[in-house]
Symmetry: C2
Subunit: 262 residues, 2 copies
Amino acid sequence: MAVDQLQLLALKNFPLVSPGDNLINLIIQNLGEQHMMLEPGDVLVVAQKVVSKAEDRYVALNEIEPSEQARQLAVEVDKDPRLVEVILRESNSVVRHCPGVLIVEHKLGYVMANAGIDASNIEHEASDTVERVLLLPESPDDFAEQLRGRIVRLFGVNIAVVINDSVGRAWRNGTVGMALGAAGLPALRDRRGEKDLFGRTLEVTEVALADELASAASIIQGEGDEGIPVVLLRGLDIASMGKDTFNNGATLLRPKDKDLFR
Amino acid sequence: MAVDQLQLLALKNFPLVSPGDNLINLIIQNLGEQHMMLEPGDVLVVAQKVVSKAEDRYVALNEIEPSEQARQLAVEVDKDPRLVEVILRESNSVVRHCPGVLIVEHKLGYVMANAGIDASNIEHEASDTVERVLLLPESPDDFAEQLRGRIVRLFGVNIAVVINDSVGRAWRNGTVGMALGAAGLPALRDRRGEKDLFGRTLEVTEVALADELASAASIIQGEGDEGIPVVLLRGLDIASMGKDTFNNGATLLRPKDKDLFR
């Protein structure tokens, strides 16, 4: 992968996404409007939030009846018991909690605060009596594969797709982009056996390529009012990586029994 | 930061770096040779390894006498006791360990496997009887500030610098680029108080911008035989971020008493 240049291009003027919208069509349409021709090796990085919106993963909190467990936990973490109930329903287990913080293992395996549930950049009813939150997509890996398949069939161009989100981490302040789903590339790139500059076999070295792409795209997606849910990343030499090395976002999840931090 | 395009450019044909080399001069010289003119807002991302090499942070393991603590720990983690001794000397504390894994808090605060000490991409003596390892730089933040200051004075152009490394993480497989040091930008970008698309105040939202830049650059730096230690990232609107928001790599370290994973 001796590339010497990468480009990240925002898909500009991307429309607001609503439940029932065909997000794949919206992306293809926007590429056309922006006169962006896809090239082999391009990576489309799509923010989780628009996938969730298209999938209508909204939950109205006034329809949620918190369980006793949720009520107790809500007191400990100082959050709305209805929100805690939704978080628990989306989770396999609580990993850590303290006042203000609730870190869980999401049903899909991600370790995240609040199961990735989010209340920013969500349209709210005018009355504001119904508070809505937005769950993660049903299956980010499946959506990535669907978008990729559609584009390969339509344009005959091999591209990759990453679905990203902004997440907090252990040990470090601030959020970074992380890959929830991926298709058409080695999300986890195994470089063991390759040589370093001096001909020594590399020791470590599985690289979380999809997470690095997710972080790169996140730089221009922003968190606030930018409204850039889709970023095209160009220059990655995916063809040289070999289809047999491709794997998805789930590959990036460290199994619980190999994780020292749960 | 409504940017709609970012470019990552490798500094090609970068020379091998040896102890005593003036890395700042090498970078400036290479920019000239590659006819790359720096522009305001450019970010130079420099791999930790070349900073360490220039600073002669090599340690010859045959000169290390392991302590009793290091010998015991070496058995538990199945590593060379001399390497374990060097890791402990570079660390404040051991965070987790198990066979094959030794995660510590580095003296500078990073939580990393093996205190960031590394044996790949290091020239070894022909005899191979002296095994050398390479420590992290003395102060990545200081080096970032020095490189930035030199370039501002020389070219009158405001740039930012990030010193990056590839690191493992809790919960996820594979390494990603992380910022050890930074200067000339908000390494941790505080976006609290800004509005989202719908005019709601953002909830979270400190973004680990320098870590995202570190990951982006890591995509083209590679781990193997690419030999791309320095990457120029262009397109970030740093000027709009305001000098009073600038902070360094140390800002990204979550204080131990606020960390649920130590």
